[in-house]
């Protein structure tokens, strides 16, 4: 036994020391010398915004695939490599990517990417809305569904890109200006159009409470089954309160998001006799080639269909 221990204990000590030494070293930052700027975004909405600004002058990689919830996500090897190699990383902020004990924070920390040096929140210039009730200390992440906020996102992103790649500043500025103009026009038109919805019908019913910013911008009242996606979805209490709001209003149609299960909303439809008139986009763009595959397209879709569904 003594002989076995004499062999084992030193080996184990060596193993432990080796481990401590390994974790204590400065992690080697992967060399980021590419000809193009390497940009990583968390979701497809930010990805599209970056594309509109950079065109072909930079490479963009988006982490959360379209149709997947960016709140809780398991990074895969490619995601981690991309982050390690990135010059700039954009996330939504406002608590969107904080699920899973902060998967995004862990990811960037692992790769030694620092806030405001490489990592930027697109929502930096946005005044956030808070969640309601018990969660009123938390913010609502869905700011981009108000086009004015979308514009602020674009400006924040553009500033960071220009600072990181001053050589192409002129091109970035040009594209940003053009893009912001398009978004502004869409916004103004929508605000005008929404005037013709009767007050009593201005209830926007969705599964998740993602439309607070949207409703404030376009003169509606938001109603939802569950407030944020991480909460229990479709509990009796939640169903009761949303049915109550529907009954007190004259609304003629319900909406369901492309990225959640329609089951709860279908139950609401059955209870109230109201139809689900359209799918809307929230956390993610549609797949490439389908309507709603850009931020502009997605907002246009939402605005057109919500207007249509409420005014009928």
């Amino acid at each position: 036994m003594k002989r076995k221990l004499l062999l084992t204990i030193p080996l184990l000590c060596l193993m432990l020391l080796g481990t401590y030494w390994f974790t204590a070293r400065e992690a080697t930052v992967a060399p980021a010398n590419h000809e193009h700027l390497a940009i990583v975004t968390t979701n497809s909405i930010l990805e599209d915004m970056v594309h509109q600004i950079v065109g072909d002058d930079a490479q963009v990689y988006s982490i959360v695939p379209r149709g997947t919830d960016p709140h809780e996500y398991e990074p895969r090897p490619q995601d981690i490599s991309a982050v390690a190699q990135a010059d700039l990383i954009f996330h939504n902020g406002l608590n969107l990517e904080t699920g899973g004990n902060g998967w995004f924070t862990k990811l960037t920390k692992q790769a030694n990417k620092r806030p405001d040096k490489e990592v930027f929140a697109a929502s930096a210039q946005v005044t956030p809305l808070k969640l309601s009730g018990e969660n009123s200390d938390q913010v609502d992440p869905h700011a981009w569904l108000d086009l004015q906020n979308g514009i602020r996102y674009v400006e924040t992103i553009s500033q960071a890109i220009q600072a990181a790649d001053p050589d192409n500043r002129a091109a970035y500025q040009q594209r940003t200006a053009a893009y912001v103009k398009r978004l502004g026009t869409l916004d103004a038109k929508a605000k005008a159009k929404f005037q013709d919805i009767p007050q009593a019908k201005r209830l926007l019913v969705t599964s998740e409470g993602a439309f607070k910013y949207f409703s404030r911008a376009y003169g509606l009242k938001p109603a939802y089954i569950w407030e944020i996606n991480t909460e229990s979805q479709g509990t009796p209490e939640q169903m009761r309160q949303v049915l109550k709001q529907i009954n007190q209003s004259n609304v003629s149609g319900l909406f369901v998001e492309s990225s959640v299960s329609p089951k709860s909303m279908e139950k609401v439809a059955k209870e109230t006799g109201l139809p689900i008139v359209a799918t809307v986009f929230t956390d993610s763009l549609a797949r490439a080639g389908q309507p709603g595959d850009t931020y502009y397209g997605m907002m246009k879709w939402n605005l057109d269909h919500i207007h249509q569904g409420l005014v009928q």
């Binding site: 036994m1 076995k4 221990l5 084992t8 204990i9 184990l12 193993m15 432990l16 481990t19 401590y20 390994f22 974790t23 992690a27 080697t28 992967a30 709140h71 809780e72 398991e74 990074p75 895969r76 090897p77 490619q78 981690i80 490599s81 390690a84 904080t98 699920g99 899973g100 004990n101 998967w103 862990k106 990811l107 692992q110 790769a111 030694n112 991480t230 229990s232």
Partner: protein, 286 residues
């Protein structure tokens, strides 16, 4: 091959890959060691049960801010105690007791997780993500590996005899109950560590599959543990390689590699039927 080259380059470049490799190697070694005893004692189902039963411990650890290892270990041992109690004090068989307890603990854990204010990723706990292992997780794994190795070296002959001939062990006065619970504690520690690489659901694979390969290739317990650990390590490295090259979830990739190695061993090994001259048992006509 280009992808192997890319993997090696990645290893030299990326801290996350290096950490992942070290962690899964350590987990491979200790699962092989502990798993050998688990399968020889007929406790494969128990191994699965303990790994599921730690879920409420993990949830409570997050909720109350207590140490994860302590939370999980308490639950793991509690489950083992309850299983033993039910099996001993009633006519119900061991696997029935196991099924009842572990599903109840698992369900409790699930509810606790959804109640936990901090949004703990259930998917992460269930399937692990060795690419997200932090430095403190790695250090913890190293300590647990040291504890497991020390335990087995110190108590090897006691573990051997209580696994091989429990009647004799008890008859000559060996404290078999202590040994059993000691093994349960060690199993729980290994589970907590393996949580990171393969998650709760697949831990049992890391315990059993490499040990089963060891069983098929040798007639010595010590060699079986060495083979089991080696297969655990090889599965980890190859699994990580596939995960990195094809952008797959790492835990499941490791488990599948282990399963393929088992399949090959099963076909090739001469020891499949346990060396019996007569398949039905050992007896000859007098």
């Amino acid at each position: 091959m280009a992808s192997i080259q890319a993997f090696i380059t990645g290893l030299s470049q990326y801290n996350f890959l290096q950490t992942a490799l070290l962690t899964s190697i350590m987990v491979g070694v200790m699962s092989g060691i502990v798993g050998s005893f688990i399968i020889l004692r007929g406790m494969s189902l128990m191994g699965d049960a303990i790994s599921h039963s730690v879920l409420p411990g993990v949830a409570l650890a997050y909720m109350l801010g207590i140490n994860l290892v302590i939370g999980a270990s308490v639950m793991g041992v509690l489950a083992a105690v309850l299983i033993g109690y039910i099996a001993d004090r009633s006519a119900l068989k061991n696997d029935t007791a196991i099924g009842i307890i572990f599903s109840a603990f698992f369900a409790l854990g699930f509810i606790l997780i959804s109640l936990a204010e901090s949004t703990t990723n259930l998917h992460h706990i269930l399937f692990g993500n060795v690419l997200a292992v932090s430095d403190s997780d790695l250090k913890l794994t190293a300590w647990i590996l040291a504890a497991v190795v020390l335990f087995v070296v110190l108590f090897f002959k006691e573990l051997l005899i209580s696994s091989f001939d429990p009647t004799f062990a008890q008859a000559y006065g060996l404290k078999t109950t202590f040994l059993h619970y000691g093994l349960m504690v060690v199993l729980t520690l290994v589970t907590v560590s393996a949580l990171q690489t393969v998650g709760i659901i697949l831990i049992v694979a890391m315990l059993i599959t490499p040990a089963a390969v060891g069983f098929l290739w040798t007639n010595s317990l010590a060699k079986m543990m060495v083979i089991a650990s080696s297969i655990g390590v090889i599965s980890a490295i190859v699994g990580l390689f596939f995960s990195y090259t094809w952008n797959l979830a790492s835990g499941p990739a490791i488990v599948l590699v282990a399963a393929v190695i088992f399949a090959i061993s099963f076909i090739l090994s001469p020891k499949r039927f346990g060396n019996r001259l007569f398949k039905g048992g050992v007896s000859d006509e007098a």
